[in-house]
């Protein structure tokens, strides 16, 4: 059996040019804290906003 989750989450804010924005990168958005192939348990964090 398998579970597929699809959800909307923040991409993060674009840094200002003063902060060194070079295109593409974002800060403070949703970040995964898992690896492909990793074993997880119920309640473990998959990622953080």
């Amino acid at each position: 059996s398998t579970i597929v989750m699809v959800f909307e989450a923040p991409k993060g804010a674009r840094p200002s040019f003063d902060e060194g924005y070079k295109g593409g990168e974002r800060k403070g958005g949703y970040k995964w804290s898992i690896e492909k192939g990793q074993t997880v348990k119920v309640g473990q964090a998959l990622g953080h906003v």
């Binding site: 579970i3 909307e8 119920v42």
Partner: protein, 436 residues
């Protein structure tokens, strides 16, 4: 010849530059010509393949080409759902009392089940393998991550794939992709005169990476979070309770839900209120953070705990039951059979959380075909009756000349008048997979 070679004087002289360049140019020209000839030949072959035969079919269809490994081809010819039901029936037969403990211990040894985590230590109490498979865990065996901004793992398992969705397509494994529409189903037309809150974002899946659209949609979600009796409420209204006070939510609404109001509703509202306080979600539009669609696929092995829990605090607005096939979802088959998750029987739960759209899809497999949703008593998966009804609906659609959507939909709008769906708190048990 030998004398000539020995006695001939060798005199080295530099080649004129122009001659050298001409020679190298000639060699390069020859290579380019040969490469071009090969490319034209390949293109001609490709064009010949695409030409139609006399019956209007592409010519290459007549060639016999193995499209999938033979294991997959054999599997597609088998009555997998019948096998699954037989497997379920077999595993629901009671095991003789004295064979239960050694039997379950053997199963645990083979599939790496940790018996010290099982809620019921006396294994005699499980009458059969199906009951043991759907076992509960001890209180506190799976503590939830304390960070309120974390998305929790809904089940024990292995991460197959995760990432960002771009262009409306989910990468499955090794570059194989399938569209969100195929996985979750397309948008259903809204019914006028009902109180069903339509998920305003399901129609725009796949375009979530555009900042402008996303922010616009966020504003729309903010403005139209709940709709009861034709009145639109903002989430802010709902959370502050002003909706109840000012907008007459006590108007009798026909209860079309499958279960009574969730006991966790108040807690979900509290979680959403916490989000309001801790993030800039309610900040002016210009300061809002853009959102994107993310996905995660978790595979549950046979020995894993097979109940699943809510990964976040969210509101389930509707469910879609796709009565598909029941192929194995072993990572090998996931790799070899493209779009496997869009073929198998699955229950798609659609709703929203504090950042917008949220969907949760348990996908069945041959050995674990039955999907149970605790708050949906009407749902029947891996059932001959359901399959027959789905076949009849498909046939009816075909007769009318319409395309069958492939799913049967139910809404939970009556479950919570305020939140417009069934509220689930973080970590709450939602349901599970059962044998057969």
């Amino acid at each position: 010849l030998g004398t000539a070679l020995r006695n001939t004087k060798i005199e080295w002289k530099p080649i004129p530059i122009a001659l050298g360049i001409a020679f190298l140019g000639g060699v390069q020209f020859y290579h380019v010509q040969r490469r071009e000839r090969e490319r034209v030949k390949e293109l001609q072959e490709e064009l010949e393949d695409q030409e139609m035969d006399g019956l209007g079919r592409p010519r290459d269809r007549r060639r016999i080409r193995p499209s999938e490994p033979w294991q997959v081809q054999v599997m597609t010819t088998l009555p997998l759902k019948a096998f699954s039901r037989l497997w379920g029936w077999f595993n629901s037969l009671d095991i003789p009392y004295y064979l239960r403990v050694p039997g379950f211990k053997l199963y645990s040894y083979l599939f790496n089940v940790k018996l010290d985590e099982v809620a019921e230590p006396d294994l005699h109490t499980y009458p059969n393998l199906a009951a043991f498979f759907y076992r509960e865990l001890k209180q506190g065996a799976r503590p939830s991550d304390p960070d309120p901004n974390a998305i929790l793992s809904p089940a024990d398992g292995k991460i197959v794939q995760y990432g960002l969705i771009e262009g409306g397509e989910v990468e499955q494994v090794k570059g194989v992709t399938y569209s969100l529409d195929a996985l979750l189903g397309t948008k259903t037309p809204s019914t006028s005169g009902t109180t069903t809150p339509q998920p305003s974002r399901s129609d725009s899946l796949g375009s979530r990476t555009n900042d402008g659209q996303t922010e616009e949609d966020n504003v729309r979600a903010d403005e139209e979070f709940a709709q009861v009796n034709g009145i639109h409420y903002t989430l802010k209204d709902v959370l502050s309770g002003s909706a109840n006070k000012d907008k007459k939510l006590d108007v009798e609404t026909p209860d079309q839900s499958t279960t009574p109001v969730a006991s966790s509703e108040a807690e979900v509202r509290a979680d959403l209120a916490l989000a309001e306080a801790s993030t800039s979600w309610w900040a002016p539009t210009t300061e809002k953070t853009a959102t994107a669609l993310h996905y995660c696929v978790i595979y549950l092995a046979p020995g894993d705990y097979h109940r699943f829990h809510s990964p976040v605090a969210w509101v389930v607005e509707r469910r879609r039951h796709f009565a598909g096939e029941l192929f194995s979802v072993h990572p090998y088959l996931v790799k070899t059979l493209p779009g496997l998750f869009t073929l198998n029987e699955r229950v798609v739960l659609l709703g929203r959380w504090r950042w917008g759209f949220f969907s949760y899809t348990p996908v069945g497999a041959t050995n674990v075909g039955s999907i149970k949703i605790n708050f949906d008593k009407e749902l029947r998966t891996n059932s001959l009756i359901t399959d027959t009804a789905a076949d009849a609906a498909a046939e009816e659609s075909w007769q009318r000349g319409e395309q069958f959507s492939g799913f049967v939909e139910a809404t939970y709008e009556g479950a919570s008048k305020v939140l417009g769906g069934h509220a689930l708190k973080r970590g709450e048990e939602m349901g599970g997979f059962q044998l057969g």
